[in-house]
Amino acid sequence: MFLSTSLYVALSIFGLGLLYKISTWFRYKIGIQSIEIPTSERFFSALKGILLTVFSPKILTLLKVFVLDALLQLRILKEDLLRWVMHICIYGGFMLLLLMHALDKYITVAIWNNYYSTVNPFMFLRDLFGVFVILGVAIAIYRRFILKVPRLITNAMDIYTIIIVAVIMFSGIFLEATKMVAYSDYQRMVNEYSGLSDPQELKALEAYWVKEFGTVSPNLKEPFDEKILAQGRDLHQSSCVECHAKPQWAFAGYGTARLISPVGLGVDRARLPSLLWYLHVLACWVGLAYFPFSKMFHMFTSQLSLLANSVMEKGKSSPANIATRQVMELDACTHCGTCSLRCSVAVAFDEIPNINILPSEKIASIKALASGKKLSPQALRNIQEGVYLCTNCYRCTLVCPVGINLQDLWFNVRETLLQKGYPEFFALSPLSFYRGLMREETVRKDYEKPLIRAREAIAAECDLMRKKDKVLPLTPTDRKFQGGLNLSAQAKTFSVCFGCQTCTTVCPVVGNYENPQEALGLLPHQIMHAAGLGLRDLAFGSNMLWDCLTCYQCQEQCPQGVCVTDVLYELKNLAIKQVREKTLQPMERK
């Protein structure tokens, strides 16, 4: 009663959760292309896409990917042998236990009609698979907490997964062990199956079981007389052997039983076997019910992601299906950290403490974003900055063990967030090169908006640029600002500028305009001068700063050895830092 009720409860939560989760794949929106596509279109488009793919030669690709990447997990092996061993142990052990042990009534019995959980090979295999999983979990703990794989961040989801798997496995093994030692379980079996009533015979069988099967008896203790044991063996052969292989085969349970045998009577009296049985079964039900919401969900979604990505292609697949796939991929992420390990710019996280720089952590933020959850402006800007700080090198996408097209995800999220109107200062760097190449895929009319917005946000902090008539006091100079130009020794050289204008004359950007001051604000030599006078606003507020090519013509040709380009670089850094601090959270150094 309890068993079936609780199972049905768990199953219905699992089923509803699954439906809910799958529905989000069609409802949630990532990226500007998906906004216009209604849920129903996405659903039918997915059905059509799946049917068309399954009944086409692409099925061969799917099969290949399923065997190599989903079952054998070669993508993990390519990355890291230890991780592959870990994952194959957990995945293989867990799946086999699920099929052979948890679903034995439906699967194992159907295949082998002489199945008993207590005979070989089943008894041995169950323990073997269990030990595989435990070994895998041990490696997982070792990697996360002892080896400390770089940038592998452990979150609540990871800890839950490790705990639930560990609880199921250990409760199972302890359950097996306590049942071996429990006298009452032994007696129940004797009463039910042996049909013995002669006390001498009962004693002989009990002695045999105490000696050979680890049962802890309140009446008998080793050593036993050879004769009694021989009699016990005979009785065992006639009544028990059909259903009971030698317990040593269940090596994990038997080893544990040996360890706990000194307290075996207490274990039985406290009815630990039934307590552990409840624990084992309930842990399985909890795992089942929570499955669609936990990391374990990737058992299902990661295969889907691998398969979908093997046959889908940007430009060829329907935008509706790409939108759906992109939401599904968020559920496929296992938070394994491979992307963060291989990310080209993850090292920036050492200096800029925004967790969204790390691709593996961006996913969690994007999940919240896609669900339509109300995020604070600060959270939104942190995500925006995180997705912008990316060289679009595709490495994350190449290494993802579950084949998520992360690069496209970043691009879509980036463009969606830029539409929200928060200034993104990182857009004023060559990180924007890729966005320029992809301009056809952005919302064309809004393409330039983020760039203008970032410049305007900086200019807004520069009062002086707007008050052109204001007479500037030359003293006291802003020494703090001047002192701030100290990151590299080169930038200090602005002080020796004697205003010959060579830098401005050779600048190709200045040369591009009929009226450069109108387009650029202060010109290079004027910016050097402004820095010399400590006029922060004038130095930061000029378009010249952001329109600098960094071609180093000015610096190369300066007769005074002013490192003009380097000074411009540092002014850009300072401007971004100060405006960012004012408008975002402080850019603390760790």
């Binding site: 770089p150 291989r342 990310c343 080209s344 710019v345 993850a346 090292v347 920036a348 050492d350 200096e351 800029i352 700080l389 060289t391 679009n392 090198c393 595709y394 490495r395 200062f425 990182f426 857009a427 004023l428 760097s429 060559p430 990180l431 924007s432 090169f433 890729y434 966005r435 320029g436 190449l437 301009r439 330039e448 760039l451 990151l487 590299s488 020794a489 190709p508 950007v509 591009n512 952001w546 329109d547 090519l549 960094t550 071609c551 180093y552 013509q553 610096q555 190369e556 490192c563 380009t565 670089y569 540092e570 850009k572 850094n573 971004i576 830092k577």
Partner: protein, 316 residues
């Protein structure tokens, strides 16, 4: 055999595979060993606008990784080259910066002491291998091919830091182009910027500068512009194509990567050189191979004669 840690950076593997494949093929032909260090990260170039410390840390981490393997670094990208050179310079010049950066690298068990050198592919070809050696490996040469050689800002300047060539009158790249038999033309805007650093930041300005430069090259009689940097090449190739369609113009000046040009004269398969991967077609370049040497001509003639004989024989 010479050996280098190959620094590909982010752009080449993601967006310019033909530069990687052609470079590897060319260097293999010239007996240069390449070691791939998988842990390399961004050179720091795009981060310099944002945060100096992030730039320096990124860049120096790469140097530390190469130093750990005791290998000099060879960059294919001029912006990577410039950034790594700058980081190398700062780490050697500025003891307090070095200490600070190494303290962060230490967490990963890395540090940079400045024992290795950073080189660009072109300087390796010119200085380490040498024009004469390359000449000796030529399978065929070009004739009448006019190339507008583009040096690239971050290789040339700031000369005090990079020391690539004479910053005002460089000749290294011209010599390398001419070894293929092509003519490296004189053009007024040879040393100007390609415009790529502003692509995505101020597209109009970037387009103006790129177009000005390319028009100048074309006016000076070039058939192709030649670069040895992914940013410059993409700007001259994909971005040029975008500019032309946006400004309703025809007649591009196609861009050929130096390793494609050299690879062709070294007799490397054009599939490996990825000629067809360029956005603006460059296949016409093969028509400018110098006429086959007489020896092969005679061989062909002899073969033709034999064929004729055979057909006559079969007729009879």
């Amino acid at each position: 055999m010479m050996e280098f840690a190959l620094f590909l950076g982010c752009t080449i593997p993601a967006r310019l595979n033909q530069y990687e494949s052609s470079s590897r093929a060319v260097l293999e032909k010239l007996n240069v060993g390449l070691v791939d260090i998988r842990d390399f990260n961004c050179c720091g170039y795009p981060l310099r606008n944002i945060d100096f410390k992030v730039f320096l840390l990124s860049s120096a981490r790469n140097l530390a990784l190469a130093e750990k393997k005791n290998l000099d670094v060879m960059a294919l990208c001029k912006c990577c080259y410039g950034s790594l050179k700058k980081a190398d310079y700062l780490m050697k010049e500025n003891a307090s910066l070095k200490k600070e950066v190494n303290a962060t690298l230490e967490k990963e068990g890395l540090k940079y002491e400045g024992r290795i050198e950073v080189k660009h592919l072109l300087s390796v070809l010119h200085k380490e291998i040498g024009i004469e050696t390359i000449k000796g490996k030529m399978a065929t040469t070009f004739k009448g091919l006019k190339i507008a050689t583009h040096y690239g800002c971050h290789a040339l300047r700031p000369s005090q830091v990079v020391g690539f060539d004479n910053p005002v009158a460089p000749s290294l790249f011209d010599q390398l182009v001419e070894v293929t038999g092509a003519e490296s033309i004189d053009w007024p805007m040879k040393l100007e910027c390609c415009g790529a650093p502003l692509w995505g930041i101020n597209d109009r300005l970037s387009m103006d500068l790129t177009l000005k430069k390319l028009t100048d090259g074309k006016k000076s009689g070039a058939d192709y512009v030649c670069a040895a940097c992914p940013y410059c090449h993409i700007q001259f190739d994909k971005v040029q194509k975008m500019i032309l369609s946006q400004r309703n113009m025809n007649h591009p000046l196609p861009s050929v990567l130096y390793t494609q040009l050299l690879g062709l004269s070294l007799g490397i398969d054009k599939k490996i050189l990825g000629l067809e991967m360029n956005e603006i077609p460059i296949s016409g370049i093969e028509e400018l191979f110098a006429k086959e040497p007489e020896l092969t001509e005679q061989k062909e003639l002899a073969e033709k004669k034999e064929l004729k004989k055979e057909t006559e024989l079969t007729k009879q």
